[in-house]
């Protein structure tokens, strides 16, 4: 399983990176951590004519807190997030999710931006971003724009990014004492893709829950959140899970996934500080 050949490009800045993507007209892919892209290329399911390595693009790095917003550069690695005090304090949910993301060798290379741009339905970070009401800074040939997480994840490996756009940074509202967070992931083996997982926040009594590993993308269910926020029993609120089009695969069918999603949510909420 050797990757097909490609041109390796290493732009020094964001403008050059975007220009290369434009120039290759869909035949270039950005290379962030490579932890998802390299397997695809080794399997030859991805065969771009060029890889644009973002490692030298300084505009994609850095973690800052300003105006009650945590700003994480897209090329920030998972390991950096785990070790960053600002991140731990401003977005504790990220710290709760990260130990479940694969294994340390993957976390030493994989990046937040890369995970979000790929939008694997079983990945943790998209769900975390939905719960944190994150916004993504996007750069493209036409300039920059902001897309809210709620509008970003569209389907199976499908996002609102255009072919020649890059996520440059992730903006997350800094958590306040009103926030509490929960996270639960059901996997048969540590580090596996989730059979069902959920990230939860509760602000005063308002719930946000995002599920991952259960459908074609990370997603929230408005009716479920409303029911929980109104004080419904979790068991009653779970009926709203049927709004999700649950996935079927060799590990679990849709009915099982729905059931497991309910268990994950129940346990996530039980695990939250009151």
């Amino acid at each position: 399983m050797k990757a097909p050949d490609f041109d390796y490009l290493r732009p020094a800045n964001l403008a050059d990176a975007i220009a290369l993507l434009v120039q290759h007209d869909g035949d270039a892919m950005p290379l962030a951590g490579g932890q998802s892209l390299m397997p695809m290329m080794n399997f030859r399911v991805a065969a771009p004519g060029a890889l644009v390595d973002l490692v030298d693009v300084a505009e994609l790095r850095g973690v800052t807190v300003e105006d009650a917003t945590l700003r994480i550069g897209a090329m920030t690695r998972y390991v950096d997030l785990m070790n960053d005090n600002d991140v731990c304090k401003a977005a504790p949910l990220i710290g709760m999710a990260l130990p479940h993301v694969a294994h340390d060798a993957i976390r030493n290379r994989g990046t937040l931006g890369g995970s979000l741009a790929l939008a694997d339905a079983a990945a943790e970070m998209p769900a975390v971003m939905l719960v944190l009401d994150a916004a993504f800074e996007i750069a493209g040939p036409g300039g920059t724009r902001i897309i809210k997480a709620d509008k970003f994840f569209l389907g199976h490996y499908e996002t609102a990014l255009a072919e020649d756009e890059l996520i440059t940074a992730i903006h997350i509202p800094v958590a306040t004492p009103d926030h509490s967070f929960g996270f639960h992931e059901l996997t048969q083996r540590h580090g596996d893709y989730a059979l069902a997982g959920v990230a939860v926040s509760r602000t005063n009594s308002t719930y946000r829950c995002a599920f991952f590993g259960v459908a074609d993308r990370a997603l929230r269910v408005a009716e479920l959140e409303a029911a929980l926020s109104d004080g419904s029993d979790i068991a009653d609120a779970l009926h709203h899970l049927s709004a999700i089009d649950f996935a079927d695969d060799t590990k679990a069918n849709a009915a099982t996934r729905q059931r497991l999603a309910g268990v994950a949510l129940t346990r996530a909420i039980e695990g939250m500080q009151t």
Binding site: K2, A3, F6, M38, H103, D104, A105, I106, N108, H190
Partner: protein, 158 residues
């Protein structure tokens, strides 16, 4: 624009200059270009952990990193760990506990173990099991590996 790239890196303390195809991954580069065959390839999709080695002091999957991405990096393989003496105590512990059988997972397992030990990991069996849970071993069933790592940490703390 290039399908071959010049890189310079340090491998096991030695400076290496090479012209590599852009597509060659790090573990294939080490094995085939530098003939450091101690690192192994098990799946080429980052799951089995056989190719785990150390780059800039951190464990990585050698199959998920391009050689060109290692330009300027400090790479350590199982051979370097042995020749420098860095893995000597771990080797002794693994030998005492028979924490290897076929030896194919061993280089990756050693890299992961050293990562745990260097980070100050506790002699906690559950934590050790979680830490090595990205390294597939078909032969040992893992217990002897956990024993060996635990032994070493306990000895060092004593």
């Amino acid at each position: 624009m290039s399908r071959t790239i010049d890189i310079t890196l340090t491998v096991n303390g030695e400076s290496v200059a090479a012209t590599v195809p852009s597509r060659i991954n790090l573990v294939d580069f080490l094995r085939n270009t530098l003939q450091l065959t101690g690192s192994h390839v098990g799946c080429e999709h980052g799951v089995c952990g056989a190719c785990t080695l150390t780059v800039n002091g951190e464990t990585v999957r050698g199959c998920l990193m391009l050689a060109v991405q290692a330009d300027g990096a400090d790479v350590q393989t199982v051979e370097g760990l042995a020749d420098s003496g860095r893995s000597a105590a771990l080797q002794a512990a693994f030998t005492r506990r028979n924490a290897l059988q076929c030896g194919f997972c061993t280089p990756g397992m050693l890299a992961s173990a050293i990562g745990y030990i260097d980070a100050g990991g506790a002699p906690d069996r559950k934590a050790i099991r979680e830490h090595i849970s990205g390294n597939y071993c078909r032969c040992t069933g893992y217990q002897s590996i956990v024993d060996a790592i635990c032994d070493l940490i306990e000895e060092a703390r004593a």
